[in-house]
Subunit: 113 residues, 10 copies
């Protein structure tokens, strides 16, 4: 798997919010083998670390050929990013385009304990 790179938070003493939006996410439906398309929005309050933008891009590209459902992929992105960045708070939103006349949004949050 592509490794998520991190860098030191320039203001760890302050709570603030970083959002990165990827409108070009694509993976594969494990049932039909057809591609899914969506927008992944990552929002987090950093603790000691921030995610490096270019490695985040390559991390998303790695899903291009993976067969995975909407609910699972959104949860996995949150888990991978929580593990790499150890944020105070993180939210991942996956907005997926129309399939069979319906479109879907999955929203997953993590709060550091």
């Amino acid at each position: 798997m592509v490794e998520l790179e991190v860098f030191d938070n320039p203001r760890p003493e302050r709570d603030y919010t970083i959002t990165h939006v990827n409108p070009e996410f694509t993976s594969v439906c494990p049932k039909t083998g057809l591609p899914d398309f969506g927008t992944i929005t990552l929002e987090y309050v950093p603790d000691e670390l921030c995610v490096e933008l270019k490695s985040l891009k390559y991390y998303y590209l790695d899903f291009r050929d993976k067969g995975i459902f909407y609910e699972a992929v959104t949860n996995q992105i949150l888990d991978d990013l929580v593990k790499a960045v150890k944020p105070r708070y993180m939210k991942v939103t996956g907005q997926f385009s129309t399939r069979g006349g319906l479109h879907s949004v999955i929203t997953v949050e993590h709060m550091s304990s």
Copy 2:
């Protein structure tokens, strides 16, 4: 009636939100016999189960020839989905197109006790 299929929630230990939007809902007005059109938005926090997208689509298609009022259909969709999915929280919003110059929105919620 079309059966709503479910699958196991991939992260039951975490509260998160799933939204499915159907902009192609149609039923029949029991008073005039004329078709009604609307958008049904289903939003829920799953417990052990998630609703399978294709069976949800067929469930909605089943209303195509049914005579039912706005208030009744929105409540029935919530009741049927609560029964099938047993969610921690669920909301159904029905936005219906213009009839006699007025358009309507019905919003119904369920909180697991």
Copy 3:
């Protein structure tokens, strides 16, 4: 005056929200005699009764030739509908189009005691 018809709430045991939007409201300015135009949005949580859509339309049409100010008409619509429907909660919003370069919005609420 046109009578507001009601029907039995299909789910009185549940709190839920019904919204009817009328973008074709018109009355008359009592000062100038000129017509006013606006959008009336009715939002309520029903108790035992729901307002019937067609009678609501005719109720609104009845203001076409009445001379009445923005503040008064929005309050009167709330009073008439509270009296007919006896809701748990009701809100009426009147958005009125530009007069003398200004446009106006009046929002009135009722909470059952």
Copy 4:
């Protein structure tokens, strides 16, 4: 009937275009007796005369209680304005709001011969 007032075109030696848009037009459907709502757009190239804005407003208000179909009203507005203003060119567009799920646009032109 309300009289359309005119004033002298300030530049009769030049062809140019004047457009007046009325988003608050209302008349009555002769079939159902219910009000119709629409936007009337008047566009013309003046010859010797221009239509005075306030009298145009009162002219439109005069349809408030008239029973008349979309096709007829759009043609009549063109005829009345051509008669009063004697323009080099004139176009009237009536955009009418949703009735029975359909909305309609009527466009009528006059070219001075």
Copy 5:
């Protein structure tokens, strides 16, 4: 089949344009048996006759249970309306919602010879 009713054009001596938009068209895909949804726009220059709006609505409703492809249905609507209305010019545009990630528009014209 539902009959298209017509009425006499109020200004047959003038070329002008009538447009009726139906955003609530639905038919059935003959291949999958699943409903299709779309917006049908009818634009025409009347000769002696205009199409009556209510009968046009019922004509469209008649496709609700018919299995027919996009290209065929748009052409058939044009043929049926040309036959009933005998216009100087007519255009039918069918905009159909997303199927398999693609959405489609079919545009068909008729010019009286």
Copy 6:
């Protein structure tokens, strides 16, 4: 100074909200002498009195030739209206158009004690 006229609140026993939006506000920058343009939104909960719409318009027109900064004008409008209307609550928002590449919004509130 133009006097703000008031009229009796038709429902003083009920808390409700009145909003008047003026997208045609203009004053003069005291530094450059150049005109400023903006939208002033007045929102309030009336007590015994409501502001009369026409006098409000003339009150705003009175700033056309006054040299005054964004922060000062928004506060002054609130002060003048609080003094005239004695509302339970009032908010004034001034949105000012681009100057030197930046545009600005000032929001001021008053709560009756």
Copy 7:
């Protein structure tokens, strides 16, 4: 009157188009004494000269206290700019905000002979 300054067209050997949009135009209605607001769009093909942007701004500001009708002001702006710039082609469009429920657009063109 404010003088319109010009500078040498950097490419007089080529036909090209320059557009300047002023969304902050205001003048006074000669009938009511009330201010009018609008957007003035100037579009031209320069010959030997181009209009200098800052002097154009001051030229527009000069109308702030002038009483002049929509039709007259749009024609005068064209005349003044044609005189100062001597363009191959010029068009002035005045879009004026709502008065008495109607809004207006005036479009005037000049072609060098």
Copy 8:
């Protein structure tokens, strides 16, 4: 390569236009190896044949792993579809998302000789 399937044009005696829009096109940049994303719009006047929608979808999917430039891919799609459908007229438009701060559109046409 995926084969483009065709079916008989239901109205070959009439010139009309068919448009299919694919907002989910993706290929690979041959220079960087990174994915490109875009919307491909196919518009054509059929002669004897129409392209079948599902095979068109699979044809587009076939570019998912191909390295090809914007200019080349838009031209190739036109060539392949002209060969399969032999239309009277065909246009392909590729709108590609932002790369290095720029976004691009390629438009290619074919006219049967």
Copy 9:
């Protein structure tokens, strides 16, 4: 560094909000040396001082040639403005345009203790 000028708050006895939006912010990416573009929104509740608009503009211009990351620049703008204005509350939001297919938003807040 460019100095931020301040002026006395005209209503220090009242809590209110001032927002200045700069859609023309640009700095340089320290990694690639390429320019970054964004919109900086400054929102604050003044105490004794307000920031002067022209000096704020020049302060932003000073970043045009500086190499600095999104997270760092948003935090630095907040720190510099807090130091100069000593506000009761301040928020800086940086919305940055697409880089490598992703776009980003950084939001930083300060609360006077």
Copy 10:
């Protein structure tokens, strides 16, 4: 000066259109020394050569510190690109953001003789 790189047109036997949009153009006003911002749209019909996207980006970046007027910069971009690409047809459109309350668009075309 940055050199514009070109590559061989993949279909020189066909007339087609290539458009590249740069919403991040910035240069410097020679009068005030302040930065200008705009969107540059390049549209052309290639002959033997196409402009390479990355070198086009660097070409635009080269204006970041140049003092040049709107009219001059739009004409120069056209001249430079015509020289490098020798197109059959080329158009450059510069849309520049608000300065002194006005915003501007310059459109320049070249047709190969």
